[in-house]
Amino acid sequence: MRPRSRNMLTQLYELLTDTSFAIVVLIALAVASILGVVVVDQVPFRGDYARMAYPDRTGDPIVWLLIHVVPEQPFRCIFFRTLLALLSLSLLACTIKRWRHHWRRALTVLPPPAGIFDAPATRRWTTRMDPRHEELTGFLKKRFFAVRLRAGDDRLTLSATRFGVSELGSVITHVGLLLLIVGALVMASTGFSELVWMRPGDTVTIPQPGFQVTLEDFRIETTSAGRVSAYISSVALREDTTLVERTEIKVNKPLRHRGYSLYQSSYRQDPTKVHSIDVVLDLGSLGAGDGAGERGAGEEVPAQTPEGMPGRQAIPNRFLEPLTVTVPWGERIALPETPYAVAIDTFFADFRIGEEGPGLDSNEPRNPAALLRFYKGDSLAGRTWYFLLHPQMPVGTGPDLPMRIADYSPQLTAGLEVATHPGSGWVWAGFAFVSLGTVLVFLLRREQLWLRLRTVGSRREIALIHQGAAKQAPEFAREEWETQMTALGVQLVRWLEPDGDPPVRSSNRKA
């Protein structure tokens, strides 16, 4: 059994380190992601939501699929997480497999492979110069090469490597990706995020670290062209009633404190409160002999103009035009030329009549309505509902004034998202690793240089090969042979042969 289980483990390891397996996982993740985004966008009811949306059709095959097969959250479902887990295992196995090999390549200055000086890419020439190996080593070390020398009876072999650290790039990238996936899973599993709707004056308390955030003001700043320039929540941060700081939370400027972050996430109109209401009093619309407001709802129109209220004939010309009165929330405002004052009692952004009387149908301003209280002197004279979208049908016991709601200034509530990101350290580390790995892989290339000096008769023969670097760009080459070499190779040859005749033969010959 033991050999067999080891064999199975080996097979599993080989599978996980196989590039084909990694590519299949990448393709599967891509396909799952496409399906996920399409499902999120095109299938509004999934899982339990589909069960609630289609209670009578749970037997239909499509509804059954929506309930049992299509995941509610495609990017958090077990299938998607399994793919991420497989990717993680593949990354881990590849990292283990490659680590030692890449590490060795990064740190080792390899001796010249057998026969490399006879390879077609090697340049050889004879010279009268006899460079000292200390100078040669210094030349290369100045250019970031690690150098090893091997001296024989008649020859000196120099091996040099630079940018070997680029060999670690892919391993570092794989480790970084692993860190990112771990961080994402930790964050998705243990992170917390909740949208909190706050009116000015409201306080949200975070019990565990123990601090409170009070919204002191929320405002939307706009340009003269009417475009929104900023959403700003002014908040006070307190710990045990001690003020820590007053600050502003904006989009792109969250408040971070003791592991929690507060984001300016959204805003909305308060569905049950307004800043003020504009009412239009149109006394000029009353006909001659019409009463102007003494009648309560349901009462008959009095035959005579009531005391203190002018009939049509008595209305001054300036009141023939409608008059707008702004009624702030919580204040009682006198209605001109009437004996009444008015105050806001209740506001519903989306008014409806339910079994328990008037109520809120939704938080959207679909049917704004206000219950206004009328006072005559200090006594309540009645209450009437006015509807913004149905000005002709006020309902209530208030006086029958020719009045309607023209507009209202909504009370805004700020939507602050309170969140924790417990895996963010892993994620930041992942960013750093992948960035470093990417730079090493794509911006650096490991270069190896081998040079052999040997005596041939009365002259010295030099053989040079420089691997890993790109060839000299043709426009920088002054001689034909230079186009066949790397820029550093050209530099080295010119350093070795300062006097000048073209030292590199265009064709190689066997040593």
């Binding site: 590039t19 990448l26 904006k250 792109n252």
Partner: protein, 268 residues
């Protein structure tokens, strides 16, 4: 119809790119390098005009032209045109331009079809220095992917001709790989990481599976697969070219995906 000054320069650049394309076609038909050089000069002139268009737009808006689909497509095509110009000037491979310029024209056409209004006031979510880093790097990366797509098409067409020397094909394949090697790290660091870091400070999470994020994720997975197939499986030549074309198709789908799927990246 009155257009702002930047759009006039943009249109002029569009026209010059079209003329350059015709000249490169003539060069391919007649095999006279003179037409190639004139085409290259015309392409360069278009690039200069498009650069002026972007600078003028930057000046009019008061922020870098990276905040709308028009601006993004324009920067992407600008990157592709600039890279192509450098590539052709250095390698003298005019025939490559015949395949890349149509893609540039396609990007310019998309840029000219979407709304082009200049908004001096950025919406609050875009008021961040990350806009410059994230969007510019993503546009540059996708411009590089466009260039690689053109090179891949050139490869496929040339590989179908019996007399094409193998060195020529090898050179195209190598160029294609080098261009992707520029685009991929730019995309990884700019489109994905810079975007995630920005989302962390603006939206409260690094990643929210927004349609554009998913599009970028798929593009990244694809090019990661491409590089693995190339390095580890030795996929070169025809197969690598086909992958490069599919990759750019994904880039285009991700770009226009906002029009159909909306999401947090739908800024107009």
């Amino acid at each position: 119809m009155n257009h702002s000054l930047d759009i006039q320069f943009f249109t002029a650049a569009f026209v010059l790119y079209g003329v350059a394309f015709l000249l490169f076609l003539v060069r391919s038909a007649l095999r006279r390098s003179l037409f190639g050089w004139i085409g290259l000069i015309t392409l360069g002139a278009g690039f200069i005009l498009q650069t002026i268009a972007l600078i003028v737009r930057w000046n009019l808006a008061g922020h870098p032209p990276l905040a709308s689909m028009h601006e993004y497509a324009s920067v992407m095509s600008w990157m592709a045109a600039g890279s192509l110009g450098i590539l052709v000037a250095r390698t003298r491979r005019f025939e490559v331009a015949s395949f890349v310029v149509p893609l540039i024209l396609g990007m310019m056409a998309i840029a000219s079809l979407v709304p082009k209004e200049i908004y001096q006031q950025l919406v609050p979510a875009l008021q961040s220095y990350w806009l410059h880093i994230h969007v510019s790097m993503a546009a540059l990366a996708e411009g590089a992917f466009a260039l690689s797509c053109g090179l891949a098409i050139a490869y496929l067409i040339k590989s179908g001709k019996p007399h094409t020397p193998p060195e020529e094909l090898e050179r195209l394949d190598s160029l294609n790989h080098r261009v992707i090697s520029i685009g991929y790290p730019l995309f990884t660091l700019g489109a994905l990481f810079a975007g995630a870091i920005w989302a962390y400070s603006a939206w409260g999470s690094f990643w929210s599976w927004d349609p554009k994020e998913v599009g970028s994720w798929i593009i990244w997975l694809f090019y990661t697969g491409y590089l693995h197939a190339r390095y580890k499986r030795g996929w070169r030549g025809r197969r690598a070219a086909i992958l490069a074309i599919i990759g750019f198709v994904m880039v285009v789908l991700s770009f226009v995906g906002n029009l159909f799927l909306g999401g947090q990246h739908a800024y107009g």
